[in-house]
């Protein structure tokens, strides 16, 4: 449970698309997912724990995880001029 925010995060997992790789189970720091051995798919068991880090969303190979109600980080500063500076410094 996240204190200090009104984000109501809803996790949508397409279990028909899930390949059972368990990457989401491993990457989630707050144990939102468990692996259902009988069905060979991941399932969302503790949605309330979610902090909206989106690691599951990005790691899922068949992209079968989607999240609703998450406040997305603002990449305000991504501009072409910045990229030129980046290529010089990093």
């Amino acid at each position: 449970m996240m204190k200090g925010t009104d984000q109501k995060i809803k996790i949508l997992l397409d279990d028909k698309a899930c390949r059972g790789c368990q990457l989401c189970v491993d990457v989630c720091p707050v144990e939102v997912f468990t692996f259902d051995k009988a069905r060979n798919t991941a399932s969302v068991t503790k949605e309330d724990n979610c902090i909206g880090c989106l690691s599951c969303y990005y790691i899922c190979p068949p992209t079968c995880i989607d999240l609703q109600g998450v406040s997305y980080s603002k990449n305000f500063y991504c501009d072409s001029e910045g990229m030129k500076i980046a290529s010089r410094l990093i």
């Binding site: 449970m1 996240m2 204190k3 200090g4 925010t5 720091p29 707050v30 503790k46 309330d48 724990n49 902090i51 909206g52 880090c53 989106l54 690691s55 969303y57 990005y58 998450v70 406040s71 997305y72 980080s73 603002k74 990449n75 305000f76 500063y77 991504c78 501009d79 001029e81 910045g82 990229m83 500076i85 980046a86 410094l89 990093i90």
Partner: protein, 170 residues
């Protein structure tokens, strides 16, 4: 609008410079770079909130006050305490310290540098932890605060907050 773009560009340039410094420090100092980042961030955190005089011993209230203090100096950094839904309280008493977990979103380091592949959980992240810890220490009247990163995600981070019962300074 033009002023805003100019200000963002200035900030981006500063953060690029900071990112380069952080990466250089990691190459030379290796793991010590995190400690250097944390301690320097702590000094900045204490200095930045020096005009915020409210203090409290209530840990949950202290985190709320910290958000207020940072907002007062123009920092809209979204964070809060976290617990499992079946746990009764946010803080656990572990003898000489209280421990809680926190979520962080819209972090300055991620928002400015993540798209340029600056590695998360590096010296610059530890500097922001130190900033948080220093500012919270001031609000808690000098109780030592530590913030440990447990997970650096693409859109948010999960961290462990430790508040020591004894006053310790840095």
């Amino acid at each position: 609008m033009a002023d805003l773009v100019k200000e963002r560009k200035k900030l981006q340039d500063v953060m690029m410079f900071m990112g380069a410094l952080g990466q250089g420090a990691e190459k030379i100092l290796q793991r010590s770079a995190s400690v250097v980042g944390f301690q320097s961030g702590k000094a900045i955190g204490m200095e930045a909130t020096k005009n915020f005089t409210a203090t409290t011993d209530d840990l949950e209230k202290a985190v709320d006050l910290l958000q207020e203090a940072l907002y007062g100096i123009g920092l809209d950094w979204k964070f809060g305490l976290w617990k499992k839904s079946d746990e009764p309280t946010y803080f656990k008493d572990e003898g000489d310290k209280w421990v809680s977990y926190m979520w962080f979103q819209d972090c300055l380091v991620r928002n400015t540098l993540f798209t340029y592949a600056d590695k998360q959980e590096g010296a610059l992240c530890h500097m922001s932890h130190g900033f948080f810890a220093g500012a919270l220490e001031r609000i808690l009247g000098g109780k030592k605060v530590d913030l440990e990163i447990l997970h650096g995600g693409e859109n948010g981070c999960y961290k462990k907050l430790t508040v020591f019962k004894e006053k310790g300074g840095s």
